[in-house]
Symmetry: C2
Subunit: 387 residues, 2 copies
């Protein structure tokens, strides 16, 4: 197996930094190191670069610069959204989808909360979401693209349903605000992020999943959404996220998001075709293979499959040995040997969950690498099942 | 004024990234981008690099790798220390020095808390600290080097005094633990950080102040110190700080801390001599100049001065115009036009506080640049005072 044969199919766990992103970050990693809070000219240039980057991030999603908070990643953004809204009112309830990322589930678990079930394909129904809200609910959090299955949630419909609940509450004199947070960590470059179309009140994004710098995220909140800070101190970022501003990460994130959005129409078509090809080749050869998650509402880059009787972890090792990098589930939890909460939430049988793989495609994949990967998957599963 | 004449004297606000640090980070910023939580070989190498970096960070301060949590900066570390200890026990009290960083003061303000006064030189007395603790106090937080004045706190003596209080409490059957956190954000490369000599229970460090990567910090906690996480999610870092691990930052921080520690003996002597020279030249020429803060217990790189009748902010602008970059106080708050809480805490008169400058020296400074800077300061103050 030569090095060049290595095929990376775990873009949902980490994306390589785009060279063009690295190029714009580099001056701020080196000579332009000044603290944007200082008042001499060199620092004012850092501040201008920071502000410019935030304005560009805002432009991509149809927001205003003053509505963005740069964080150390989507996990922090999600924590800030949930803690920020819910900790202000001790009795306030948070509602999350059963398939949401652990960051949302665990952040919600710090407050009174409701777990909203999803359908067997992993798709949430707007009606079910609305039905699970009561007059104590202050925040609903839903992901846009599920990080394990790639399921696209009907966020716009959920926003409309939440809006109707809000209207009804107002009419009945219930004064508690009700906000909708969307975790779009996996969505940059793969789904429309324009806020006017999503209709949400808060949005979390992750630079490390769209060829941008790692440990970099943002939280957008609509004007009027009042937040408590998670990290306090020097008062940077409107007092909502203290800590010296890292200009390199802001500039890199802006470039990465712009590039991802620009490439999106063509890239999602290309990835969907490659993903469908991978799926078809595998299911054609392995008659017992199951595709998990709703296939109509599925992000272009995701393919989640079960091979009953096989062990997902052993399959990942076998594939790695033949040059294919894939995951058993979401890199941040499912690889730890616990059964995935997402697969449990969609009611997948334990034997199907245990024999599952997540493939997530990205920029470096092409038809040849997908064909190679499909062959390796077929071989590995057959070996594992003793066929 | 040619570009080469520019003298940076604001190292306490931001340090440039060491080229050797950038070199070790670079592969992890580019080709080695894998998520350390994944299980294929390339990811295992990322994980090994992460673990190796944490082991090296631990070695510098005399700790174990399992006792470190990597954060997005000292502000987060301080928040995690204070929130982590105090939020576990709702009635627990936090004690902080009046001159501590805003991160400590504001994090303490979320809990029942006590503000401990310092002497007119900014030095805390171990006896005063001990006297201000009561049986509800669960955490004391002190800085090692004050970020405005450069005052070195007698952390070892404070640790001994806190230890005596702890012993007394145990003898009286008081079961609430009492921990000492030290904010050493400004101390790497400038003060001994060995934990056996500091005697503290928790320690915060900042890579962005010691020629390492920005928005990178760590929190060390002694075995037995139980913490609640600030950011929850995928469960990385013992569940105490969720979010995808950023290997580049870990590797860079380790290199930066090793280099800083290695250079420390020679560099602190060199900086103290340069700082004393700067101070002497200014005080020789400007008879009304006042040096703020205890001069015996002062970090080698700091010089904080007042020029009564002058305006600190206007002085910074004037100096910037002649090629010298300095600060009016801590970059993260005092530059915003509010009066510094540190200068208030040491009882500095308003007119002295308003006419104050902070010079903080670092690696690129040499005798010629210091002489040049001294001349510019003298000129600027004379102009400002109409002399």
């Amino acid at each position: 197996m030569t090095k060049s044969k290595s095929v990376y199919l775990d873009y949902a766990a980490a994306t390589p930094l785009d060279e063009r992103v690295f190029a714009v970050m580099r001056p701020y990693l080196t000579e332009r190191f000044y603290n944007p809070a200082a008042i001499y000219q060199a620092a004012a240039m850092s501040r201008a670069a920071w502000n410019g980057a935030l304005a560009r991030l805002a432009a991509v999603i149809g927001a205003k610069e003053s509505q963005l908070i740069l964080t150390a990643g989507a996990t922090e953004s999600i924590n800030l959204a949930i803690w920020g809204v819910a900790s202000r009112i001790p009795t306030a309830k948070v509602a999350v989808l059963a398939t949401d990322h652990q960051a949302a589930l665990r952040a919600a678990a710090r407050h009174p909360h409701t777990i909203i079930p999803v359908g067997p394909g992993g798709v949430a129904s707007a009606d079910t979401v609305a039905a699970r809200l009561d007059d104590d609910t202050a925040l609903v959090s839903v992901d846009l693209i599920n990080s394990e299955l790639g399921t696209i949630q009907p966020v716009r419909q959920i926003a409309a349903a939440v809006g109707a609940v809000r209207k009804d509450r107002l009419a009945r004199g219930v004064s508690l605000p009700l906000w909708l947070h969307c975790d779009a960590s996996q969505a940059a470059g793969l789904h429309d992020l324009h806020l006017s179309r999503l209709g949400v009140d808060l949005l979390s994004l992750n630079a490390g999943k769209c060829y941008g710098p790692k440990s970099t995220g943002l939280l957008w909140r609509r004007d009027g959404v009042e937040l408590a800070p998670l990290i306090v101190g020097g008062g940077q970022q409107f007092g909502l996220r203290s800590g010296t501003q890292d200009v390199a990460r802001a500039v890199g994130f802006a470039k990465a998001l712009e590039l991802a959005e620009e490439a999106r129409p063509a890239e999602t078509r290309r990835l969907a075709a490659l993903r469908d090809r991978l799926q078809r080749r595998i299911t054609d050869s392995l008659k017992g293979a199951i595709v998990n998650g709703d296939q109509k509402n599925r992000c272009a880059s995701f393919l989640h499959m079960s091979f009953i009787g096989a062990d997902g972890e052993r399959l990942v090792y076998a594939l790695d040995g033949s040059g294919v990098m894939a995951a058993t589930g979401a890199a941040c939890s499912a690889n730890r040997g616990n059964r995935s909460h997402v697969l449990e939430a969609i009611g997948l049988a334990a034997e199907a969950a245990d024999g599952s793989l997540r493939f997530s495609l990205g920029r470096q994949n092409d038809q040849a690498s997908i064909d190679f990967a499909a062959d390796q998957v077929i071989k590995a599963v057959n070996r594992e099942l003793g066929l």
